[in-house]
């Protein structure tokens, strides 16, 4: 009984000691967490660190949590409680009683009983005055710690209130990291697309190798945006080269499909080619082979003539294999002889193989362009982030993006044409500058984003076969870049996006005097249109020049253009207003 009484009393003392210890440790944890948080806030002003405010809260919470956890872990024991009671006036009676209870000390029964009674009495007296015996620390005991905590929070508040220049940089780095991760996943998706695409093995391996190299480089380079951009530029060039190599095959196929679609007897093959469906092509060729026997000699001659005409068209394009295949097919058509068996090779089967090869090349071109689009999009965001961090966008990237921007122009049918301008720093929106039919891609796919005092982001839409356009330019410290996708036939202009930041003192003009896009003269639709030929960009190659000079040149060119172009007065006013707004002395 006495034993239970003693333990019950000691448990009360134990609970209070544990509570006080927990609070003390939690306070110490808060102090430590706050100190760590303030240090982190300070570091956040020296280095680009993300979410420092959140980390401050996390540190404080962790400090309190750790303090409480340690308090629970190191909770008071019964012996500690006994010692506290003994120190509180029991003169070691409780510890001695505990020793006897635990069998550590032996004595006669009477002595033990009397001693335990004395210990219990002392414990009861202590517990009755527990708050007095175990008081919370007086103010002077925790004054220093409280002042320290208050000071830390004052410093933290000051650091939080004053703007942190590193915050934007950290944000940009984070975005860059996200872009890189996104690019990695896009590369994986591209590889899957590659596996599903109807490509021959050689083309597939070539493209796959390029993507694999890029993936490895991205992994190894980490967050070095500048190097990543260089690597992306290299890959873009490779993809561009691949697309260029296969562009002719695509063009040839389109020509052939167009002609065949107009010709009776070859419509099905033409439509299959238009759909770029290899199996449909095979079926169409089989059907042609079967129908050939039923055609009259005159009809076969017409078809053979067409095939020969198509073959002759290939001569100028250098597609010798396709030319020979068409020639053989024409001969077979003229003779009216079909292969004896399905497995035997004849002119039509040669044509089928050649067309299949062409379809593979066309698919390769489409894939390469699609991948180039993805890479250029991600790269543009990286470049934007890099410029925000104050880094210099590698020239190889701007060159590569410029090239890739023009690369799509060839495939546009050019019903409408135009160039598009990238963002202008001033108002941040691009304006389509050409809506006339005919020539696409006279100007670089992405035009220069002018740096201005105010950063801007713009999108320029233009009709025509401006094609995939991407351009970038530096304006002072700002960087503008634009990207666009070209349309086939519909000729939607590329999106031009420019982001400029900097002042007007010096601007960097594009490196290329003129666009590298394929200049195509297009008759336009049957309704007619006006042919426009692009002029030279009024700039000097890739130099940093005074804004005033650049402005004067552009303004003069704009004035000249307005004079010779039949633009509505309202639009002319807008152009004038625009140049008024960006004049140097304004």
């Amino acid at each position: 009984m006495e034993r239970e009484v003693l333990y019950t009393l000691l448990n009360k003392v134990k609970a209070r000691i544990t509570l006080q210890r927990g609070v003390r440790l939690a306070f110490a944890g808060l102090l430590g967490g706050s100190a760590a948080g303030v240090i982190l806030l300070g570091l956040g002003r020296l280095f680009p660190l993300l979410h420092v405010e959140l980390w401050l809260l996390i540190f404080c919470s962790c400090g309190i949590g750790t303090g409480v956890a340690v308090g629970i872990w190191k909770r008071a024991t019964v012996r500690e409680a006994a010692r506290a009671v003994d120190h509180g006036g029991a003169e070691d009676a409780v510890m001695t009683a505990l020793d006897v209870l635990e069998g550590k000390t032996r004595a006669s029964e009477a002595i033990v009983r009397l001693q335990r009674e004395a210990a219990s009495e002392a414990a009861i007296e202590y517990v009755d005055r527990l708050k007095e015996k175990l008081p919370w620390p007086a103010w002077r005991q925790w004054r220093k710690a409280a002042i320290g905590l208050a000071s830390l929070w004052l410093v933290a508040a000051a650091l939080l209130l004053f703007p942190n220049p590193m915050k934007d940089k950290a944000q940009a780095m984070s975005e860059a990291r996200a872009v890189l991760e996104e690019m990695q996943s896009e590369l994986e998706e591209s590889k899957e697309e590659l596996n599903e695409a109807a490509l021959n093995e050689e083309d597939r391996l070539k493209l796959e190798q390029t993507l694999e190299e890029l993936r490895k480089e991205l992994e190894s380079l980490g967050l070095d945006n500048s190097e990543v951009l260089k690597e992306l530029a290299e890959t873009l060039e490779k993809l561009g080269e691949m697309a260029e190599e296969t562009k002719q095959a695509m063009q040839s196929l389109q020509d052939i499909s167009r002609e065949m679609s107009k010709t009776r007897g070859l419509e099905e093959l033409g439509q299959a080619l238009e759909k770029m469906d290899a199996s449909a092509v095979e079926q169409a060729v089989d059907r042609l082979r079967n129908e050939m026997k039923e055609l009259s000699e005159e009809e076969r001659a017409q078809l053979a003539d067409l095939l020969e005409e198509l073959a002759s068209m290939q001569e100028s394009k250098g597609a010798e294999d396709l030319q020979e295949a068409l020639q053989e097919a024409a001969e077979q058509m003229r003779n009216g002889e079909a292969a004896a068996s399905a497995g035997e090779s004849d002119g039509l089967s040669t044509l089928q193989d050649a067309l299949g090869e062409g379809l593979s090349k066309a698919a390769l071109e489409q894939l390469a362009r699609s991948m180039a689009d993805r890479i250029s999009e991600g790269g543009s965001r990286l470049a934007e982030g890099l410029s925000q961090q104050g880094g210099e966008v590698p020239s190889s990237w701007t060159e590569a993006i410029g090239k890739s921007g023009t690369s799509g122009s060839n495939s546009g049918s050019g019903e409408n044409s135009g160039s598009q301008s990238g963002a202008n720093g001033n108002d941040g929106s691009g304006q389509p500058t050409g809506e006339t039919q005919g020539n696409g891609g006279q100007t670089p796919g992405g035009s220069q984003g002018n740096g201005g005092q105010s950063p801007g982001q713009g999108q320029g839409g233009a009709s025509g076969s401006g094609g995939q356009g991407a351009g970038s330019g530096n304006g002072g410290q700002g960087t503008g870049n634009g990207s666009g996708t070209g349309g086939h036939g519909a000729g939607s202009g590329g999106q031009g996006a420019g982001l400029g930041a900097g002042d007007r003192n010096l601007v960097t003009t594009p490196r290329s005097l003129e666009g590298e896009g394929n200049v195509e003269v297009d008759g336009g639709p049957a309704t007619g249109g006006e042919t426009q030929t692009g002029g030279q960009s009024p700039v000097i190659d890739g130099t940093t020049r005074p804004y005033e000079d650049v402005y004067n040149e552009y303004a003069a060119e704009a004035k000249k253009s307005l004079g010779r172009t039949k633009l509505p007065a309202s639009l002319q006013d807008k152009v004038k207003q625009y140049f008024d707004e960006i004049q140097p002395d304004r």
Binding site: H87, E91, T96, D99, A110, I111, V112, Q115, E117
Partner: protein
Amino acid sequence: MIETKEQLEAAASRITAVKAEIGRVIVGQNEVVEQLLWCLLAGGHALLEGIPGLGKTMLVRTIADVVALKFSRIQFTPDLMPSDITGTNLIDFSTQGAAVSRFQPGPLFGNLVLADEINRATPKTQSALLEAMQEGTVTAGGETHILPKPFFVLATQNPIEQEGTYPLPEAQLDRFLLKIGVRYPTREELKEIVVRTTSPVAVQAQTALDGEELVALQLAAKELLVSEEMLDTAVRIVMMTHPGEADAPEAIKRHVRFGAGPRALQALIAISKVRALCSGRLHVSWNDIREAAPPVLRHRIVLGYEAQAMGITSDEMSAAILGEIEASR
């Protein structure tokens, strides 16, 4: 044997009464009186050290009166022989002329023996006390004689007159449970001493405790409880007197040549128990150990030459040890 709270209180009050009775004769010296009583109740011997005239002899005599023990006094001198204190065999001639050998007990055969100025006797004579103090027996002429119980040796020595003295060897010193320093009286005490000793009526102490009661109290003290923590503390104190001990205070490491032995630990616990009994407690507390430690360690800590030259005392060493333990509690 204490079985009730009342018995405990009675024992404590009896001790208080003894102290009060001694106080009727002895002016001041409360600490010395208390420590002498601890020694008696613990069944040990005490060495009193003080300059002449402080009432050491009178104190011992008063205690003998109060406790009703057979008192004998030996004045130690350089020519004192061992047989002078232990006793000797005599030859008695009967009326028929036959010679019979008979042991004539010496002054040691008392309950309370005052060995006055013990350091004046030669080591040979001092050593004769060893057996009596440790074993409670005396051997003479090949025969061992048991000393009466209780047996206490209360020795005195003068610390200032060193010429013609023989300092007690360490082994002899270790047999004394306590070494009690007798201090000089205060002004008030001096006045009181003069008043009491120059008045025509001499105060005589009355018996407050007989031998049986003393033995009963001694047994009761031995039954008291000592917690594991207090035992550890006592051990730690003794261990800390050793200069080679890792947790010994810096002062001990610097000034002490040899520390206390196991008898010190026994003495510390025994005295602490007695002190607890005097306080009406059934267990030993830190306060008991802290109060008991200085007189227990005083003659057991051997200081180095440098420390002696610097006037450092073993009490300072004890204080250093106790201070460290107090801080760590």
